[in-house]
Amino acid sequence: MLSDFGVILLFFIIGFIFVGVGLVAAAFIRPSHPNPIKNSTYECGEIPIGGPWIRFNIRFYVIALVFLLFDVEVVFLLPWALVFKQLGWFAFIEMIVFVVILVMGLAYVWGKGDIDWEKPKPYIPSIDDLVVGKKK
Amino acid sequence: MQGSIGFPILTWITFLPILGMLIVWLIPSGKDEETKKRSNMLIRWTSVGITFIQLILAVIIFLNYNNGMTGVNQQSGFQFIEKFTWIKASLPLIGNIHIEYFMGIDGISAPMVLLTAIICFVAVFPSFGIEKAVKGYFAMYLLLDTGMMGVFNSLDFFLFYVFWELMLLPMYFLIGIWGGPRKEYAAIKFFIYTLVGSVFMLLVMIGLYLSVGSFNMLDMMNPANFASDSIFGGFNTSIRYVAFIALFIGFAIKVPSVPFHTWLPDAHVEAPTPISVILAGVLLKMGTYGMLRIAFPIFPDAVGYFQGLIAWIGMISIVYGAFCALGQFKIGKRDLKKLIAYSSVSHMGYVMLGMASMRPEGIVGAIFQMFNHGIITAMLFMIVGVLYDRAHTRGLDEFGGMANKMPVYTGIMTIAFFAAIGLPGMSGFISEAMVFLGAFNTYPMLTMVSGLGIILGAAYMLWALQKVFFGQIPERWQGPWDPTGKKYKHDDINGRELTALIPLAVIVIFLGIMPNPIIDMMSASVNHFVEFMRPFVKIGGHLSGM
């Protein structure tokens, strides 16, 4: 008999076989005519400029983190909603506490100005900068 | 109870200096030159007062001491006992803990208490010359006093250890701040050496406590108190031998016996005069005292095993120390203070030899030698200090003809040097003679070799005397010490210095003629000690009571 882990192992093996068989079969069947355009990263008509490893603005991460928190909240809310009737007030208060803590987190992020989407202010050189020897 | 005066005198004599330290602390240091000077004088005289009261207490102990009581391993034989429970708890997990505040003296410790009180009082006077951070100096001095007194009074190992370590730090600062040019090196060397010894002592103490269930030294001396399955249970086990060696090394570093002696010359040379006095006068005695009080009676079987080795160490210390002292006449390293430091190594060797004899006369001689050496070396260091204060050098070959310039000083110095040689009529003779008497019965060959130490001792002492006091006065010392006449009005020794030296000289001569007051103090205890050690150790010749 297989143990619980054995089943998982079996699952992995079958998964690998399934994908592997598909790829190998495709390699045999498909026509192969490579050219530079086809080998470029996106075949969408645009020619890529620069490397793909650029730094994303840190603001994206903050927003993503806050989003994630509330995403997880929903994961907790679903089972809670299922047993809500049986548990009654206890569950209600507990969930209120949970939500309040999360809301405080949001308030904190808000209060500290971390979700303000400040636009970068590009520096436009004025004519004075171009005059040699003049102090700003 | 006999030997008690209904007053916690040992507590007072021990903790009085701490009280003095607090008083010294509270004396405000002045703002300008004038008030600063006044406050410094106040601090100095407070210290004189405190140590004087301590001396009076010691004399009271001396007068009320009952010579017939034994002590050593019986509580009933101790005098002036103070015993209170300090820490007591019955704990299932870490075993019972029982620490007592247990003080008392017997014939082994009483002379040491007296010695400590005398030396601490006397050494305050040369301390008057200290000008730098006076308050700190006397605070540390008094703390050191408490530490030393406590070591000689405690009968609980834990208490003993606390006092033993308590005096490390003041000593470090006293050498390190007020010392000579290489003070830092000397101070840390002293600290590290002593600490190495005492941490192993700590391990042995823990082992004893786990075996006996209490820190009481007297309980540890009774083999019946050792649990049979405990670390130190039984006799003649190798772990007991190792423990004895650890304790012995811890104490031998303090003595210092030969392989562990190298810190002593450095410490002495760098320490200021009064601290050299205390170091040689009292501190070294703590090592040999610790052996008699702790190492020997707790591990008598190991003493039996290592008795010969101890005697050998004593012999080697005597001869090697004497040769090192002689080495000071080599050109280029002639230091009078170093010479006296090495002579201390040699003289403490007699104590070791006397103890190894395990005969009453040998041990009485050893304790008496501890006392005498304390007094005599204190004198020697003070005498060197007097000269150093004036000339700012201690080079043996830089002096000469001082007898003409300082006649009184030369007189005192001659007494001290002759006492150190062991001239009959001085106290040193009696103790050395007793040590040899005892040791000759047990270890005749070693004792004969040790006799060499006396001859060498005479050689270096007389040679030093000749170099410094006789012959021509060198060019540079022909004028007065202090042309302005402010600091030294006369060329000769001054009144403050004489105050410190004369009482010591009187003691040396008095005990040389009539040693009974001190010897009677210890004989009962020493006889009991020898009885107690008898089954374990080798004793030569016919044994008669003292």
Partner: protein, 502 residues
């Protein structure tokens, strides 16, 4: 599985036992809100933290004799945990107070609001860690305290070395907790449970692969070792200690270490104790791996390396950092005995270590306020320029060396007596030799304060009377506990009993 009603009942019971931690969480939230609402006020969150800690202390006091589990065996309340929680709580209060007198925090950071809030958060993580008896909770608690401490280590953003400290701390922390969770997963795979009590039962009943067990425990140890900064998991310690603000350095060296030791002891006892009846004070361990020896090796390495490297340091904070590694070694020595006497001696040692180490760091902070440096050469003559600081520092340093009559001596006395009692005399010998080595660098600090530059003409140091009162709060117990240690020893011996489940 529990029925729903039982589950609710268990939950209600658990919450009543979780009150100290709850108080901390509420204090955290309140401090957060107050910081948002009153942006101008300087120390408001600091006072909130103090009040929060006092309330926590009240609930902790009410739990004194409790012994139970909560949240379906995930969390344990026992005397052992409560002792450690007291150590953590008291040192948290101490650290908050020290922070009030640390100028560096107010000058080099943008406001201290979040600083105190994060201290509460870290205290919460440590409370959780001390009581946890489930591998997942252990992991979560370590992460909770770590995250706060990462930020706190780099709180003075304008100081370059603080940022460096924080980054190093994060990277080392991430690696070691990664290794730890791997170890946890192996242990889970071996025994089929995350609960320590169940792992213990499984190990008692079934033989497991020794190599896999050894590997997993060593990996878990790397997580604990990182928290207690034991060699070879110590690499972050000197840099972080040097870079972090002084109070945080003190906090990391005391409270964080206490939590690490608590879970180390709990993990070993609960997981490996062979709980046959009558096997109380001396533990018989399950399996054939010699855990005594493994821990003893860690102890020897930590002591020796910590002390030897400290000899060459020139920065006082770095010296104290290496000394804290060495102290971890002394305590590991007691852990390696694996008996209740060893546990009790660790507890005693911790209490003493808390007082003296906080005191030493506090003096460093006060001196840095004045001279703006922690270099040992700048300490020359400070004993005369600031007599009270000099005397107290000397006291703390001798206590750290372990000389009587100070608290540190009592700690050492009990550690060594536990080791000698268990028969590891070689280990005790290594320990005492190490304490002699340690003397050398502790002396270096007060040597510079007293022996150099004696008649200094430089100005006296200034400090407020309140800061001196706080200094005595650390100095007096350091001396007092060295002379009258009856109660601490009794309490620790009573607390050495780690709860083994039903």
């Amino acid at each position: 599985m529990l029925g729903l009603d039982q589950f609710i009942a268990e939950l209600n019971k658990s919450i009543s036992m979780f009150l100290p931690e709850t108080a901390l969480v509420i204090a955290f939230l309140v401090a957060l809100l107050l910081d948002l609402m009153f942006k101008k006020s300087k120390n408001l969150t600091g006072y909130t933290a103090l009040i929060g800690f006092l309330v926590t202390g009240y609930f902790l006091f009410k739990q004194m004799n409790m012994q139970s589990t909560a949240f379906s065996n995930m969390f344990v309340i026992d005397q052992f945990g409560i002792f450690m929680k007291w150590v953590i709580l008291l040192s948290s209060i101490g650290v908050v107070l020290i922070s009030f007198f640390t100028n560096e925090l107010y000058e080099k950071a943008k406001g201290v609001g979040e600083y105190f809030t994060l201290i509460i958060g870290m205290a919460f993580g440590m409370f959780l860690l001390v009581g946890s008896s489930n591998l997942i909770i252990i992991y979560l608690a370590i992460e909770t305290m770590s995250l706060s401490s990462y930020v706190l280590a780099g709180y003075t953003k304008e100081v370059k070395r603080a940022s460096e400290a924080s980054l190093k701390y994060v990277i080392f922390g991430a690696v070691s907790s990664g290794i730890m969770i791997y170890g946890i997963s192996i242990l889970f795979g071996l025994t089929g449970s995350l609960n320590l009590f169940e792992i213990n039962r499984f190990l008692a009943a079934n033989p497991v692969n020794n190599f896999a067990l050894f590997l997993s425990v060593i990996m878990i140890l790397s997580g604990f070792g990182y928290k207690i900064s034991a060699v070879p998991f110590h690499f972050w310690t000197p840099d972080v200690y040097e870079g972090a603000p002084v109070p945080i350095t003190a906090y990391l060296s005391v409270a964080s270490k206490a939590a690490g030791f608590a879970i180390l002891l709990r993990f070993f006892k609960v997981t490996f104790l062979d709980s046959v009846p009558g096997n109380d004070s001396v533990w018989t361990l399950l399996g054939s791996i010699d855990w005594h020896f493994v821990i003893a090796i860690l102890a020897v390495l930590s002591m020796t390396l910590g002390n030897l490297v400290a000899l060459w340091q020139t920065n006082v904070k770095r010296i104290l950092a290496y000394s804290s590694i060495a102290h971890a070694g002394y305590m590991l020595m007691a852990v390696s005995t694996m008996d209740d006497a060893g546990v009790a001696s660790v507890l005693i040692y911790f209490f003493m270590y808390m007082v003296m180490n906080l005191g030493a760091f506090y003096v460093v902070a006060l001196i840095a306020n004045n001279i703006g440096s922690e270099e040992i050469d700048d300490y020359n003559g400070l004993g005369y320029r600031a007599p009270i600081l000099g005397i107290c520092m000397t006291l703390f340093l001798i206590s750290l060396t372990g000389l009587p009559p100070t608290a540190g001596f009592i700690g050492k006395l009990y550690v060594f007596s536990a080791v000698v009692k268990a028969g590891y005399i070689w280990l005790a010998v290594v320990g005492v030799i190490n304490s002699v080595i340690s003397l050398f660098y502790y002396v270096k600090i007060f040597r510079n304060m007293y022996l150099n530059d004696v008649d200094s003409n430089k100005s006296k140091l200034t400090y407020s009377p309140a800061s001196i009162v706080l200094l005595f709060v650390f100095a007096i117990p350091t001396l007092y506990l060295g002379i009258f240690f009856n109660d601490i020893v009794k309490w620790a011996s009573y607390s050495a009993n780690i709860f083994m489940g039903k």
